[in-house]
């Protein structure tokens, strides 16, 4: 289906992780809320980030009650919805980003918009648009079975979370369920920028590594090149969200500010 774009879909994501592992580096995955700075210009920001060194993307579908998000992404979600961003426009954006950048796209959202659309319909729609995978912020392992099954049916990946609080036995069960990748929550708390990068999750990452081949991506609280470089030493991928969203919120017309930040983060992740 995506012969024109060989790097798309779940396979594209697997290849991105595999080649990064082979090269001894990590994958850099910036996050941006769909619809920023505007519905029309959102795709340009992803294209610019691709040119600046992003290997894959997380596209956030804005939700009215983003429980896992701190003030920056809350603000972004509110603005994007005010500007008319919807689920169907978000899926259109995924399609444009995938085809124009030829890089894996992960859709990030919350449980209720997915339920409202129908789990299978949602997974089918984002897969058809060329997405590689899905992250659902308020979906824990216990409730994930119908979502994983639907994702698998459309050949896209569903990420599961591991947090600094997750006990060892639970980490083993989550890894054994073979998710598309594990989203390691690097810091206790919601998304946002932090002054210091903690290392609460090191031991859990080593545990996952010792029992499974599932790629691990670190996110939450990673905003500076130093923090990103630290995370890249541990994980297969690094997600930076709030720091990038903040630039797009504060300097919506300044593409150069965005690419400068993304370049330095990408360089830090790639080592």
């Amino acid at each position: 289906m995506f012969s024109r774009w060989p790097h798309l879909g779940f396979n594209g994501l697997k290849e991105a992780f595999a080649s990064a592992r082979a090269e001894g580096r990590a994958v850099f995955m910036p996050f941006l809320t769909a619809g920023l700075p505007s519905i029309e210009t959102s795709v340009d920001r992803f294209v610019a980030m691709a040119a600046a060194g992003a290997d894959a993307f997380e596209v956030g579908i804005p939700y009215a009650d983003p429980l896992m998000d701190g003030p920056t992404i809350q603000k972004a979600s509110e603005l994007a919805r005010e500007r008319g961003m919807t689920m169907s426009l978000g899926i259109d954006l995924v399609r444009s980003v995938a085809s124009e950048t030829d890089k894996p796209v992960i859709v990030m959202t919350y449980v209720n918009p997915v339920l409202s659309m129908g789990i299978d319909h949602f997974m089918g729609s984002v897969a058809t648009a060329g997405a590689a995978g899905v992250i659902i912020a308020d979906l824990p392992f216990e409730e994930s079975a119908p979502f994983s099954a639907a994702a698998a049916g459309h050949d896209i990946g569903l990420a599961l979370f591991v947090a600094p609080t997750t006990p060892e036995q639970r980490v083993r069960e989550i890894a054994a369920s073979n998710p598309a990748f594990i989203y390691g929550v690097a810091e206790m708390g919601v998304t946002g920028e932090r002054a210091d990068a903690g290392h609460h999750i090191d031991a859990l990452i080593r545990l996952v590594r010792s029992i499974s081949q599932v790629p691990i991506v670190l996110g939450v609280g990673i905003s500076t090149p130093d923090q990103a470089a630290e995370a890249a030493k541990l994980a297969d991928g690094v997600i930076v969200g709030s720091a990038i969203v903040r630039i797009v919120l504060e300097q919506p017309d300044d593409l150069e500010a965005l690419t400068t930040t993304v370049s330095s983060l990408a360089a830090a992740v790639h080592g």
Partner: protein, 389 residues
């Protein structure tokens, strides 16, 4: 109940469950097992009931509202939860949660509040039990419930204003949950209603069911025909309904009709919402066609919430409870009416339940009706005065 719910996954039929960020999951699993153990421990249950008796003032009386009864042609009994210490049923739950926090060795609690009653009850339990306490409250509610803000501060609690969304109860719950994600190792979330991810709806039900159990024992051989309670998140209604669910007594939950159920400005999640996931639980909720949460509206801060406890969703679908609505205007009338005729100023929340009884008086003629008077209205006096009632 013939089948004991929730099941191991925290489900009440298709409702409930545990849709929470992974960071919270270990705490929810720990809380589930700590609660199960504590609730089977005679010493814990004994201490809970001792505090309810000596500190809270339970049992609360049943009062026959003769003046209203005469006017309505209905025998109206009031279960006086307004006479609890701090002025509402909320303290039944916060005493239990406070004891759980101590049992888990967590020195700090957080809570959300709408009308401020749960916030005051949380602050009170914290003061009593020597816990640090922080309460999240929407900026709109801080404005309409200024008295309760001051009460919380007087009790040694820090009130954290929440300006996201509409600045009401939904936003306060969300912000409390966000705060809990970063403090979960030292902090217990003292949720105020039968909402949230499992095991919260179960725990709050168990701490509130004392209302219905007392009602049954106080009435002896006699049984009311109808029991009516207001429903926001639904904790006072759950507390009185749960022990009666198989009794054959007609159970009526009254939601906020706001400006009218033909408008979008109401809090009638069960009557007009559809199933979805809000605050960690599958339940009826107000949402648009894309699954975005819709803002609720009610004159009463405690009913101004776009979701409802998952067990109420189950009761609705099983036909075990009937859910109705009363508007802002009807509730205001009932508020003034009870004050004038019985010398009892009710909480605006409870006034919704009374408003339904008043409207339905003809069909209730000759019956014995119990109204769960969930709280007193001192907190609402300033707001109602400003409306010129």
């Amino acid at each position: 109940m013939t089948v004991s719910l929730p099941d191991r996954r925290g489900r009440y039929g298709e409702f409930g469950g545990r849709f929470a960020p992974e960071t919270l999951m270990p705490a929810l699993l720990e809380l589930e097992s700590v609660f199960e153990e504590a609730w089977g421990d005679e010493a814990f249950v004994g201490e809970y009931h001792r505090i309810l008796a000596d500190f809270v003032g339970r049992p609360t009386p049943i009062y026959e509202a003769s003046n209203l009864s005469k006017e309505l042609g209905v025998r109206l009994l009031l279960k006086r939860e307004d006479l609890n210490h701090t002025g509402a049923h909320k303290i039944n739950n916060t005493i239990g949660h406070g004891l759980l926090a101590k049992r888990m060795g967590k020195p700090r609690i957080i809570a959300e509040t709408g009308a401020g009653q749960h916030g005051v009850a949380s602050a009170t339990a914290a003061a009593l039990l020597g816990l640090e306490c922080e309460v999240f409250m929407g900026v709109k509610d801080i404005e309409r419930q200024a008295l309760n803000v001051y009460r919380m501060e007087l009790l040694g609690t820090r009130v954290v204003p929440v300006s996201s969304g509409a600045g009401t109860l939904k936003d306060a719950v969300s912000e409390a949950m966000r705060s809990w994600v970063s403090t979960v190792n030292t902090t217990h979330y003292m949720i105020g209603s039968v909402v949230g991810p499992h095991p919260f709806p179960l725990i709050v039900r168990e701490f509130q069911k004392v209302i219905g159990e007392e009602l049954l024992s106080q009435m002896g051989e006699e049984r009311p025909d109808v029991v009516v309670a207001c429903v926001g998140g639904g904790s006072n209604a759950m507390g009185v309904f749960y022990p009666l669910i198989d009794s054959g007594i007609e159970l009526i939950g009254v939601e906020a009709g706001g400006l009218g159920t033909e408008t979008l400005a109401h809090g009638a999640s069960l009557s007009l919402g559809r199933p979805g996931v809000l605050h960690g639980s599958m339940t009826y909720m107000l949402q648009d066609e894309e699954g975005q949460v819709r803002e609720a509206h009610s004159i009463s801060a405690g009913l101004d919430y776009p979701g409802v406890g998952p067990e109420h969703a189950y009761f609705k679908d099983k036909g075990l409870v009937r859910y109705e609505t009363a508007t802002d205007a009807e509730a205001l009338d009932a508020f003034a009416w009870l004050s004038r005729k019985e010398g009892i100023i009710p909480a605006l929340e409870s006034a919704h339940a009374l408003a339904w009884i008043r409207r339905e008086a003809a069909s209730l003629a000759g019956k014995t009706v119990v109204l769960n008077l969930s709280g007193r209205g001192d907190k609402d006096v300033q707001q109602v005065a400003a409306l010129g009632v």
